[in-house]
């Protein structure tokens, strides 16, 4: 059986890639994708801990489903925002969206 650590390493790697995408990419859609990666890395963690712990306890799976739902909602809202921004400012580059700056 594949040891738990492998899953955790995969998950950590995926999270790091997502985090890097969020921090480094300039395109807002790419940032949103990075966020999705990070959410799914968490899901891998949740599911793998469920599988290697007490299988009768359903908490890990349930949490994973909640994260799916949140991710779906987030994508819907996030994309809508980005489209709206694009319509008014003709850009989706995060650095150029600096209205809040003093």
């Amino acid at each position: 059986m594949i040891p738990l650590s492998w899953y955790l390493i995969l998950s950590a790697a995926l999270f790091s890639i997502g985090l890097f995408g969020v921090l480094a990419r300039r395109n807002a859609i790419a940032i949103l994708l990075g966020v999705e990666l990070m959410l799914n890395a968490v899901n891998i963690n949740l599911v793998s801990f469920w599988r290697y712990g007490d299988v009768t306890q359903m908490a890990g799976q349930v949490f994973a489903i909640i994260v799916f739902a949140v991710a779906a909602a987030e994508v819907a809202v996030g994309l809508a925002l980005i489209i709206s921004v694009y319509r008014t400012r003709k850009t989706v580059v995060a650095d150029e969206l600096d209205l809040m700056k003093w």
Binding site: L23, A24, A94, D95, D98, L99, M100
Partner: protein, 719 residues
């Protein structure tokens, strides 16, 4: 109704009328006078019931109608107030009720009720007349109604309340309350036409002058209360109290307590009854409407002063042995006799019809005061009442004459003719017959026309008393004053009514309406008949036909009834000679006089009232003004008090400026207020650059902080 209850209620209707008129019916003239006259009529009716019930009680002097209630707690005891009608009170109530009722009625006509509103009348000024057009298109000027008609009746009501209160009260305190209410009303009514400066000044003068007397009177009341612990007449006039007061010595002039209290109370009367030296207000008070002159200066208020002395007579004579006058009594007798003569000399030289009567009033009041000074109790009370009737009659008559003359003035339109100047009149007997006959009766009563008029009997009684007790100085002075009285009265009648009209206005004078003549007729009736109730028993021929009811009735007020004097021909002859002689001489001297220049008696000294006004102006008023304006205002107020206040002001202002400059501005505003703001601003400025607005930088920063905090927690907690 029980008589006592009725007496309590007597003063009530006029004061209710006052409030009703002031609060509700002020706008409606007819309502107001109905309420006013109605209230006077109610009080009159009540007074008559009380008077006739009093007549029916035997020994009323010992068992008067009296009732009282505890009113003001003073330590252990109660100050009681109440009502008292003894024979004196009943007799006074009789004339007060009649004269007040008559004056109310007269006022309706005097203020031209039923006439149109004036063309340009204003409140505070006498009505000037109104123009009306008759059916033929002719324009006439007719008298116009008084603009403040309702107000007049309200004041008159309050005044009547004061007088009734004074008469029915059984103690000095409520007597004084009534006394002061009348003082106030006197002020309000003399200054009724407040648009005239002379009226305003006269009102202030009357108020201030009587105030001088009132202060002393209040002192007397306070002394009496502290000495006896009571102000109720019946408790003071007991043997023990009077004896105690008469034997207590005081440090002033060697007077006994009784003498000093009586003197202080008498000074109050000097002010109220316009005796020398406080007589100056009364002639000026003629500025008021004529019913007021009649009401205040003849029938009620000035009589109240004399009434108060008559009331306090037992106190005045507490240490009187029956022969030598005490100091207080001498003072009273001197002031009375002097005033009687002094005022009579002035009256001779006056041309204003009302002023003659004003001085005559002062003179007649002097008579009563002199009578009281020599202990002639009944004679004084008798003259008080007869005088009230004939003087009210004369004043109302003179008002009627003035009213008639004003008619003439309105007819000719010549407003420069003074309708009160007797030299503008003459021949009015044909134009105003009722006024003439009633005025003649009043004038003869004032002169003491023998046998038929009331004035003769009362004046004769005073002279007889003075003669009988050997007070020669008083007797001679009063006899001369009586002569002058007859003289100026005849002068007045001759100038006003006899001869031919001297002006066009007098030719067009008109008789006044019934509301004015009816009171004249009623008062004329009393001016004649009231004398008959006091004819001395031993008088030749007439004595004994009618019982001397007055002497017995009023005399019984005192515990020791005064004895009737034996008859003597000398005072009788004297009063006959002075009355008839004065009348005859007055007629002879003035029947052909046409102008003031022909009048031999227009001596400047008399014309100018012995320069008393000027002397008082110089002695009291100028110094008072100097004291008020220069000393108090300029020096004390402006200099000292304002100086101190300004010093405080400056010091506080300096302190304030200093605190503002060095504490408020420097520390609180600059350092703390502005300082904290500037500090925040500085920090904000420094922190501004990290506020880039780029979300990825914020996240990176968050990540950095997370790593640092996480690292720290890991290294600190996990190990």
């Amino acid at each position: 109704m029980a008589t006592e209850t009725l007496i309590w209620l007597l003063p009530l209707p006029p004061v209710l009328a006052f409030f009703l008129i002031v609060l509700f019916t002020n706008k409606n003239k007819a309502f107001s006078h109905t309420i006013g006259v109605g209230a006077a009529a109610l009080s009159w009716l009540g007074s008559m019931v009380v008077f006739f019930r009093a007549l029916g009680v035997e020994h009323l002097g010992e068992h008067p109608f009296a009732s009282s209630i505890p009113w003001l707690p003073t330590g252990e005891t109660w100050l009681r107030i109440g009502v008292l009608i003894d024979p004196l009170g009943a007799a006074v109530l009789f004339f007060v009720a009649w004269t007040i009722f008559m004056i109310f009625l007269y006022s309706v006509g005097y203020h031209n009720f039923g006439q149109p509103e004036g063309d340009h009348d204003r409140p505070g000024l006498q009505p000037h007349g109104a123009t009306v057009t008759d059916e033929h298109g002719h324009k006439h000027v007719v008298p116009s109604v008084e603009p403040m008609y309702s107000r007049f009746f309200a004041f008159l009501g309050l005044f009547a309340f004061g007088m009734y209160t004074l008469v029915v009260s059984d103690n000095l305190l409520t007597l004084f309350v009534g006394w002061e209410i009348m003082g106030l009303c006197s002020y309000l009514l003399i200054g009724f036409w407040y648009g005239k400066e002379s009226a305003r000044n006269a009102a202030v003068k009357a108020f201030m002058t009587t105030r001088v007397g009132d202060v002393f009177m209040l002192l007397g009341i306070a002394f009496l209360y502290s000495a006896t612990g009571t102000l109720t007449f019946r408790e003071i006039f007991t043997e023990e109290v009077l004896h105690a007061l008469a034997t207590t010595a005081t440090p002033i002039l060697g007077l006994s307590a009784a003498g000093l209290i009586a003197l202080l109370l008498f000074i109050g009367t000097v002010g109220k009854s316009a005796q020398w030296p406080l007589h100056v207000w009364l002639p000026d008070a003629m500025e008021g409407p004529t019913p007021v002159s009649a009401m205040i200066h003849a029938a009620t208020m000035v009589s109240a002063g004399v009434y108060a002395v008559i009331r306090m007579f037992p106190l005045l004579t507490a240490d009187f042995d029956g022969h030598t006058l005490t100091t207080t009594m001498s003072v009273v007798a001197f002031i009375g006799a002097f005033t009687a003569l002094f005022a009579a000399t002035i009256a001779v030289a006056q041309n204003d019809i009302k002023r003659v009567l004003a001085y005559s009033t002062i003179s007649q009041l002097g008579y009563m005061i002199a009578a009281l000074g020599i202990g002639a109790y009944v004679a004084a009370a008798f003259h008080l009442i007869t005088h009230a009737f004939f003087k009210a009659l004369l004043f109302l008559g003179s008002g009627s004459v003035i009213h008639g003359m004003e008619h003439g003035v309105l007819h000719t339109g010549n407003h420069h003719v003074d309708p009160q100047d007797m030299f503008n009149m003459g021949g009015l007997r044909k134009k105003m017959p009722i006024t003439f006959w009633t005025f003649l009766i009043g004038g003869f009563a004032l002169s003491g026309f023998p046998l038929i008029t009331a004035g003769f009997w009362s004046k004769d009684e005073i002279l007889a008393d003075a003669f009988g007790h050997g007070h020669w100085a008083v007797f001679v002075t009063l006899a001369v004053a009586a002569f002058l009285t007859a003289f100026y009265t005849m002068r007045q009648i001759t100038l006003t009514f006899l001869g031919e009209p001297r002006t066009k206005e007098a030719e067009h004078a008109q008789e006044t309406p019934w509301t004015m003549t009816a009171p004249l007729v009623v008062l004329a009736f009393f001016a004649v008949t009231y004398g008959w109730v006091g004819i001395p028993e031993h008088f030749p021929l007439l004595g004994g036909i009618l019982p001397n009811w007055f002497h017995g009735f009023v005399g019984s007020t005192l515990t020791e009834e005064p004895e009737a004097l034996p008859f003597n021909f000398i005072p009788l002859m004297t009063s006959l000679v002075v009355a008839l002689g004065g009348l005859l001489l007055g007629w002879l001297a003035y029947r052909n006089v046409k102008t003031p220049a022909e009048d031999k008696l227009q001596i400047p000294l008399l014309k100018n009232k012995w320069y008393f006004d000027e002397a008082y102006d110089f002695l009291f008023i100028k110094p008072a003004y100097w004291f008020a304006e220069t000393f108090v205002y300029k020096w004390m107020d402006k200099g000292v008090i304002d100086g101190i206040l300004h010093a405080f002001g400056h010091a506080t202002a300096f302190l304030g400026t200093w605190i503002r400059a060095y504490i408020d501005k420097a520390i609180i505003n600059e350092l703390m207020g502005d300082g904290s703001a500037r500090l925040t601003q500085w920090f904000g400025g420094r922190l501004q650059p990290i506020q880039t607005g780029r979300i990825q930088q914020y996240m990176l920063a968050s990540l950095g902080v997370l790593i640092v905090v996480g690292g720290l927690m890991f290294s600190l907690l996990v190990k």
